[in-house]
Symmetry: D2
Subunit: 374 residues, 4 copies
């Protein structure tokens, strides 16, 4: 595989590399990690890449790899948001599979275009909505799907981070910088960076789709151009109410994603603080705590485990599970139980969320339909 962006020193680039290689199904062999070719080469060297396969930009990488018998088949996009679309388009059109960071693109319009491209190209397009790779998230989805909770009545998802409680973007904090700049991050701040995760996991586990939303986005830190705090009421397509909180000014919080889904008979509770457990609260029955890799899990919940129960797997392993599923999809292997890599449809929904939330919040429009943006 090749990677654009995400050289050593970035957060997500090394995660892609470690995750993709963890199960021995892929290997990073080419990259365009920086527009500064010296920096890109240093990065490539640090990762043991052949210097000939390190490029200053995605165009040259795609062109050069196409000429090699052993050229990459998969391109990973780990750049700021504004580059997702052009790179994905070029890669897919060059016959490469693409694994892309979220959100899918800079704008909803791009995402809709990309959907058409993906539909027509015969290649796989995956989006790293990481949380979809956690075993206990998959177990949660299976529990809902199986009907254990009865009909879903309510969903609460809360994704609270504190890392942008201060105006880091005014310093030289690269990740804060491009995220806070509409030219590179898009029209959404926290909603684009983590709100789309919250939407995805809520829909994935509940099996429902958000139909309407009533958003309240703020730029809490003075002078910030994009939202850094998002709160939102939802109604799902079955009428069930929902609440979504996504904040990057929740000072002191680390990376606190928590999902609760309530049904007629009980509720489930998963939190990224302790990703290896899933709590099930039942009406008039003892609470159950399910542990990753335990034998009593569903096939879907067990499949991601690489280790015996009691041996924690974390973020890299969840990411790796997406890559393993992606490798299966590329190779046309039978999917493992519960497998699934988020794709362009998920990406479009995320972009529609950003679009709707930003506009409706700005207009103080109250409730809007998610698909009105589509």
């Amino acid at each position: 595989m090749g990677m654009i962006g995400g050289g050593p020193g970035s957060f997500i680039g090394p995660v892609h590399k470690m995750a993709a290689e963890l199960d021995g199904r892929m290997r990073l062999v080419a990259g365009a990690f920086s527009r500064d070719l010296n920096r890109a080469r240093e990065a490539g060297a640090a990762w043991g890449l052949d210097p000939d396969r390190v490029h200053p930009d995605y165009g040259s990488l795609i062109a050069a790899e196409a000429l090699r018998a052993d050229g990459v088949q998969l391109l990973v996009i780990a750049t700021p948001n504004h580059l997702h679309f052009p790179i994905a388009k070029a890669a897919l059109e060059a016959g490469l599979h693409v694994m892309c960071d979220k959100p899918a693109t800079l704008t909803l319009a791009e995402a809709l275009l990309l959907r058409d491209i993906v539909a027509g190209c015969g290649r796989q397009f995956g989006l790293t909505y990481t949380y979809a790779g956690y075993a206990m998230v998959r177990e949660a989805r299976e529990i809902v799907r199986r009907g254990d909770l009865g009909a879903v009545r309510k969903v609460v998802v809360d994704y609270s981070q504190g890392w942008l409680a201060q105006p880091l973007e005014r310093g030289d904090h690269k990740q804060a910088g491009w995220r806070a700049d509409p030219a590179t991050g898009g029209e959404g701040g926290a909603i684009a960076d983590i709100g789309v995760h919250a939407l995805h996991i809520a829909e994935l586990v509940s099996g429902l789709k958000v139909d309407r939303l009533c958003p309240d986005l703020s730029s809490v830190v003075e002078g910030r151009l994009l939202d850094d705090d998002c709160n939102m009421l939802w109604r799902f397509d079955n009428g069930a109410p929902g609440v979504m909180v996504a904040s990057q000014i929740a000072a002191g919080d680390r990376n606190g994603l928590r999902l609760r889904v309530y049904g007629e008979r009980g509720g489930l509770d998963w939190s990224h603080d302790r990703p290896d457990i899933l709590t099930l609260n039942w009406i008039d029955q003892p609470t159950q705590v399910l542990h990753a890799a335990a034998p009593y899990l569903s096939a879907a919940g067990r499949a991601p485990a690489r280790l015996p129960t009691g041996h924690p797997e974390g973020f890299i392993e969840a990411f790796a599970t997406l890559y393993r599923d992606f490798a299966d999809a590329i190779e046309g292997a039978t999917p493992r139980p519960g497998a699934g890599v988020p794709g362009i449809e998920d990406g479009v929904r995320g972009m529609a969320l950003i679009r709707c939330a930003v506009r409706a919040s700005r207009a103080q429009a109250g409730w809007v339909r998610l698909d009105e943006a589509l």
Copy 2:
């Protein structure tokens, strides 16, 4: 003290008795526990009351006590909501102090009337917003007040119960019955029963007032007349966003009240699951966990403790702390640090919340001002 309603077998009546008597400052000596005089007398006997001081209704109790040299000075109202106002009015006008269950009254109009009565009667009126009696809630308030967190930027309060996930009111569940009936419970269901708690604790700890709200109330259980699930966006008077969840259909949840307040420098997190601790998350500093009764707490946080640290106090003790503060207020004693019994102003705000939330939600009105109801 005397009590109206709440005889043995009810949830809250015994709590009032145990809490009021815990610190030896008050004693239950008279009551009108049931309109059925036989049942009332049984109740009185079970609690060791003089049969002469057990009455079939509040009117006769107030009249009879007024004739006694040792007549009660304080009347506790532990009835369904529709009786709060007439009893409180009668008691205050008879020169009694009143401790009343929440919500303050059946309607906002009654609450406003009661406010005038309280203002003019020279007697104390207290509302048992229980959570205001927890030591660590008071510590939290003090931490915010002292400025440790910096300016408050966000408040999230979540009060999720599951006990009404099924239509208990159709059976002979007394507490579910009157709460689900507009004639006895008022126009609000979950919003009136627990939403007012959530508003109170959020305002109490943050030191802010909710200015605007955007509610979404549902009757999730089919055929239920009043709301059983409430979700709400808030904006406080300093512009800070807020989120409120209050649900009684959160199947499997017990009595899960959790409050988070985020400021510029960190956030605090308190949960009724574990009421004896308060968690403080800080930007770039270790998380702190404060324990009830510890020597490092503020005077306000320490004052409620009856036991050394590590010896849990619970719901009855929190309730008792309100009664102890109330006794001090009645006696004109110097208030203990951090003391305070919620009063009619808090009650009016709660009733305004119910009013606004029910109307605005029904009208799908989006954002409304809380004080527009006033």
Copy 3:
């Protein structure tokens, strides 16, 4: 009831009063709270006692109450350990029931004498091993008794406090003072103060008796006369191994009592940090978390509840449950499910533990039988 020792300002005296009165079954009406009669009277006044019933010592209290038609029937002993025996003896011989703080007496010899006195006097003798009053401890006992775990294979009990990590006894800390002095505390320090709790809860829940023990007691704080840290291996009467930790120099710990009992099919885990839950871990089945007052508990586990599930009860309520059971026993009422007040047999075992542990540890004797002291 009357009380010796434990006036306002002490830790345990007010706990006895609040707990005994909580359910309205008893009332404190007489006391000898201090040898200084002025202090005793202040204490009595603060608690609303008739000054005539406040005495300078237990002898005069017992004598005076015996002359009253409404004299007390129950005497609570909340003094340092060296007074337990003489007071209990005098009270029982005067026809009073006795509720006594642990450990039972100053010496094992006294405990054995007291056992004979109790056997012959026709009065109730209770010991406030508080943890036996927690609902979830009773549920735990019932779960083991019912055989859910299969045969018990291992018990681990850990009671770690940090309050004596510093030499408080050298200052004017009254509670540290008498505990650290062999003349008033006896030959055991931590082993007498909390080790006996650990033994009691371990035997109570497991249904087993400690047969042999291999102790290691230390005086970790320099200059301390008695042990402040106890670690011990056990073998129960069915051969199962056990581990006991009791420490008062576990710096930073509050009052951390945790019990684990492992059987053939699973294990239970209860901790005083969170006394309202009981965790059951099962082989190849999801972990279960049981909550106090939940409908699915056994009758024994449900009986202590005063509040609905989700409304925490704490230390005072656990203590009160012992008093409620004691009132039932005194009145000859049918015991509630799971009821039981620890008595002199439990007290004798505790004193035997102290005796064995102190001697065997001093002698570096390795394993000794608990009943060799008897």
Copy 4:
């Protein structure tokens, strides 16, 4: 690197591969995964190895690799215990570095021989005491080393698993089988499998050495030849008491390793249940909870982090941290802060523990010195 044993399907073999390769410093290129060459080749193929580098035994692997210009420099030993010594000896003598599973060898005598071999061979020998790779264990060590807790006064380490609560070794459970057989596992069961981990982490973090021990080992499951439950009293070289629990019959427990170290001013608490946090309890100060990868950690605690705080790393990453340190050691790179791979000295101590504990327990010898075995 090459690996002996641990082919796909084993627990620890894939962990070695994933961990060693995670940071891109090593790659598995040769192996002798099974004595059955067909199975070994399948394993090699699954991992993408050149079939020429897959061998039926360690001898042929070492010989063949020695002939290659690109032959492996490091041999990983992931076999049952009885093969550790001969393989390590052969590999070291062939000039290879060795990374070996714990316990070091089958017998203490072998470990002592191996120590001499390591001392003389100029090659690195590492032992995968995994828990030494966790960031928060390293932070804990640094906190103690820095003196924050004051002098260490007590250590409690508890490693409770339940996977051998049933006689799995009688079925075809491979891992249970060789562990339960003295010929392949050695004279220790749980003490050898997990007790050595407990000793290592206790000594590593406390900075102390166990001087004396008083063990109680049992074979709780009927018919089991080796111990499956170990409880032990310790005294460290500074006189501080310690307690060690290591059990594989703690039914329902997963892989629960918990370490507490108490000093004069406070105590630390780390648990593998939640490896990303470290709790510090202080006398009369709020409890602190430290989170992995946070900026306030020591250099030693920060160094292992691959991800931002709030993104959990787990068992594979801890293992990988040992491999990264090992790669640095092999290459002679400056060690990262807090780096360190357990080596043969740690291995010898572990073997001495097994030796002492088994003998002293069998002889009911009470206290013995750990170094009497040496």
